[in-house]
Point group: C2
Chain length 628, copies 2
């Protein structure tokens, strides 16, 4: 964590100085704004936290509820989401309060007594090997609390406007604020009054029954299946020995997905309520909690639950729907309205994916809005949102459909009792959130030079590895330095010569300081040298063989009002006493050096040889606007 | 982190329910109180956080300053302190904002050009091998912030009374509140008015010029040396390559101890100002900051500092003093007034010990006050405070005197340039905070059975190791479950039979449930079974070979208003996919089983065979009072 560079900070370093619109932010929803986010769920609150890093952009988040979310809803947190929380500064805190999934157990009918269940398999959770981050369970309400804190502590000082409901919108062809939005106050003195506000961009984070989606006429395609599930968060006493372990239970009496929750006592159960008759007309949703508990006990036989408190429960029918396009744009027209999360993809809750994919929708869109609205990038950048995220949603629906139907099978349909476990582990990269790979576009190059950095696949998220920080010898995760501050990252992995010797790296550094440099071209006049691009270097040597006095100045920029040297951009790859990792080996990096460009949302945008300076400049010329 | 067992918690789980005096805590200092803490430094604020866990005790903390500490003072955090922070629930947060010491470098005169300094040695910091916790640098102000948060979030809802100064005290021979204390308001409407309050116990955490020490007539023995040091927290630009590494610099021009600080830019320098003439009369303390900076530049030659901002500076003369006894008691009389921290031990700042030892003073005293005041233990328990902590302070003074004089040597006095490094590393256990070993007393048994748990030395702090939690298969640090909640810990390490088989463990468990059990004897009627004693079991098998349904009930107590099973007291020693540690091997535990009793301040109190139930009962009979 870096601070004090604007002068000494005595208090909480996680609170950044207010800036721009954050300095005197009006308490009331204004008449005009740059971005209006509709809904304060995971995508909406991530957007709030991200756009708080762009304090020159006016961002408001409206929410129909009159305060924070209190109960229920999503709780599965994949490693990619924890990685995202790290970038927003709260991973260590949420990890310490969450349930960490170490194992998933599988239960089926006892062959000798099929009316009773027995444990058939134990599997280590996929998080074990796939990431440095764990696989967690924690209530969505807490995730939102942490994003709310990040939004409020950022320079933009963004807090949701609670008690304001979306009514409808009209996109005008012209004007500075082309989106006219009708809202209604749902609480406070102005309850039930309507008003009209105007925004440059509107983001619909308003859930499965999205009014924003309806307003722009996008279709939510797919259907509700004929299978119903009850879900409950309960405090119980039980003789079921896996109460604190994630389990899939396939009994003769039905199926349960069992998810222990944070705090050591509470668990969530998804209980199979069976096929829904065609003429049911959603009556299944009225199933009383007592019936859900009775069914759970029936499935768990010979074990039983003595329910002491029901914290939350619900009944739903499995639906799989995805919207055809996640914005209001078309061939001739750039988009002004976007859809995220459940507003454009809905599915069962049982793969623990919904909140995670929604957050990545927000992470994908947030920096793009920030860059376009601050003049760093052309508006065409915004077309990449739907192009990148719609296929991810389609993958999600496909995965979930397969997982849900595997989970909902009857025991007699199961030939191999370990099949579910095998599917779960074999597809680990997907539910971990790491399989997303964006196609080539204005912000992802083709794979011409991929071989020079085989462990950083283009279009996938930058997978961190440990390096040694030269200034202090600490082993740190290179990727964890990349905060969600809206900046591009350029990692220069050096060729073999030591710092200060003539090398491809030193020529590349000279290029970066030249007028042809993308940093020079695209960083606004008067801004810090690293305001838009955070450039870091990793030498192949050990940290004590890198003489920091001989490192090119571009890697030791002087920033902030005091013009202080930033010491934390120079790294060494060779292991020392604190790490056994060499990132060149770990990520298949060319010993001739290589440049890896990473987007503000942590996805790998370009892999280029040190010599390919023209290509580097051309890449940013396409993705950005000249700043001077 | 365990919560929800009093019903579902929607918000921040670190905020416990208010209880007892915390429910309606008066904003104003009352006339009578159980404990009055004088001073809100590290010892005082740790006491506040600890006593907040005893909400039936009225605790007030007075502080002359009118608000939180903003600047300066201590910053070295040894691993033992981070371990303590873990118990108070904020280690992960303070670690993420602190400077982590990976190396200490040593600089001396260049043999070929003695007016210039060169790096003579690099040493890995001692924290590398000695603990699972790091060695940190972070401002005392932040440490106090975190303790203040823990004090406020605890059931006692304790917040300091700022703007109230200690004037004097009188200890009366009798009465419910025998200590009469005169205080003066230093801020607000009542500024400069005096009043008298009464307390059962007073703790002087009021620094080197302690008024409480003076009031009870204790003597601070030792003297001020004739050596002066300037200290400054500065933001600079410099060509000194180790600006971000801890260094000891022994130049011909003098000595510097250089300590990088949190945030990536700020460092602290202790600069040798040389011998102080006998007739100086503390005039050296008036040394201007420009002179300190000039001297630093002279020592650093050929490198130089361009100081951009001085966040804080001071000048002091090295003093080594320790008070003969840390309370007002004597042979015939139990103590009512205690001294902690600088009030009873002062020394140089350069070994980074002061804040750490002060906090351990508070940790030692806090639970004892809590237990005596809630009737769990006899008042004689309080005599162990001075008996245990005074020798620690003496050790500290001796260590610091040696380290300070090594640091203050002239280059010509140094025969072996690596000597300082060797001393630093060779004594690692001391500055890490792990060498403290309390002598046998009413709360530490003799070493008769030490061989059954050689890795848990009696009187030393319980050194954690990883085990596997049976209920969910997670690898966790056994010691990290021991929160600073004022409870005793009893760890039963099982003999070889599996759970449910007849064994020494099962007989021990039966004893614990019997009327002769110390748990039964010393837990108040109506309190949770684990309200005073937190009993945990560690089986020798792997977690999947422990059938939790067959574990004795005493290890699965039902607690809280809902009577929910606590699943998190049963552990397995054999490694699984998530850990390679077997605690029996790692800590030299007898495979015949052994019981380890750990005090609320994390020190090992007793090591006993499973069969020694009478000894276990006798130990607690001496340390505690019968509860029913």
């Amino acid at each position: 964590m870096q601070f004090h560079h604007h002068g000494y900070v005595s208090g909480e370093p996680r609170v950044q100085n207010a800036a721009g619109t954050g300095i005197d932010r009006p308490a009331d929803l204004p008449d005009e704004m740059d971005v209006l986010v509709v809904g304060s769920g995971p995508a909406g609150m991530l957007l709030a936290a991200q756009l708080s890093q762009f304090p020159d952009v006016t961002t408001r988040v409206i929410e129909r509820r009159d305060g924070r979310l209190v109960l229920g809803q999503a709780d599965g947190i994949q490693p990619r989401s924890v990685e995202t929380f790290q970038a927003f500064g709260f991973a260590e805190r949420i990890v310490s309060e969450a349930y960490n999934i170490a194992y998933m157990n599988f239960w089926g009918p006892d062959p000798e007594n099929p009316g009773s269940i027995v444990r058939t398999a134990r599997t280590e959770d996929y998080a074990l090997k796939i990431s440095e981050f764990p696989h967690l369970i924690v209530n969505q309400a807490r995730v939102l609390d942490y994003f709310a804190e990040a939004a409020l502590n950022g320079p933009g000082r963004i807090a949701p406007d609670y008690g304001v409901e979306f009514v409808g919108l009209t996109v005008h062809e012209a004007g500075e604020f082309p989106v006219e939005v009708r809202v209604r106050h749902t609480a406070g003195e102005r309850a039930d009054t309507e008003r009209t506000v105007r925004a440059k961009y509107v983001v619909g984070c308003d859930g499965a029954r999205s009014g924003v989606r309806e307003a722009i006429g996008r279709k939510h395609l797919g259907g509700i299946s004929a299978h119903a599930w009850g879900v409950m968060d309960v405090l119980v006493n039980t003789d079921f020995p896996d109460w604190r372990t994630k389990c899939a239970i396939n009994a003769e009496a039905g199926n349960i997905l069992h998810i222990p929750r944070e705090g050591g006592y509470l668990s969530r159960m998804y209980i199979d309520l069976g096929e829904v008759p065609e003429n049911d007309d959603h009556r299944v949703r009225q199933t009383p909690i007592d019936e859900i508990i009775r069914k759970a006990n029936e499935i768990l036989h010979p074990y039983s639950l003595d329910v002491k408190q029901v914290a939350w429960h619900s009944v739903y029918e499995v639906g799989h729907r995805v919207t055809d396009r996640f914005d209001d744009g078309d061939e001739g027209r750039e988009p002004h309205v976007f859809l995220t999360g459940d507003a454009c993809h809905t599915h069962s809750a049982k793969a623990g994916q919904g909140m995670n994919v929604s957050m990545q929708d927000g992470f994908n869109l947030g920096w793009k809005l920030g860059h376009v609205l601050t003049g760093l990038s052309p508006a065409s950048l915004l077309t990449t949102y739907s192009a990148e995220r719609q296929p991810v949603a389609q993958q999600l629906i496909d995965f979930d459909r397969e997982w849900s139907s595997l989970m909902a099978r009857k025991p007699e349909e199961i030939t191999d009792p370990t099949e579910l476990a095998t599917f779960y582990l074999g597809t680990a990269e997907f539910p971990s959130g790491f399989m997303t790979q964006y196609a080539p576009s204005m912000i992802v190059t083709d794979a011409a030079h991929q071989a020079a950095a085989s462990g950083f696949p283009l279009g996938k998220r930058f997978k961190s590895a440990e390096v040694v920080r030269v200034c202090d010898g600490n082993a740190v995760h290179l990727g964890h330095h990349a905060k969600a501050d809206g900046r591009w990252r350029i990692y220069a992995f050096a060729d073999a010569p030591v710092a200060g010797e003539a090398s491809a790296l030193s020529e590349w550094a000279a290029f970066l300081a030249s007028p042809a440099s993308p940093i020079v071209r695209h960083t606004p006049e008067g801004a810090d040298a690293d305001a838009v691009f955070d450039v870091k270097v990793v030498y192949q040597q050990g940290y004590d063989d890198v003489d920091i006095a001989r490192v090119p100045e571009v890697f030791l920029p002087k920033t902030g009002p005091l013009g202080l040297t930033d010491w934390e951009k120079v790294f060494a790859a060779a292991p020392n006493a604190w790490t056994t990792t060499d990132i060149f080996d770990e990520r298949g990096l060319s010993r001739d050096g290589v440049v890896v460009v990473v987007r503000p949302d942590q996805y790998v945008a370009a892999v280029l040889p040190l010599e390919a300076t023209d290509e580097l400049a051309a890449f940013f010329e396409a993705a950005m606007l000249p700043a001077r």
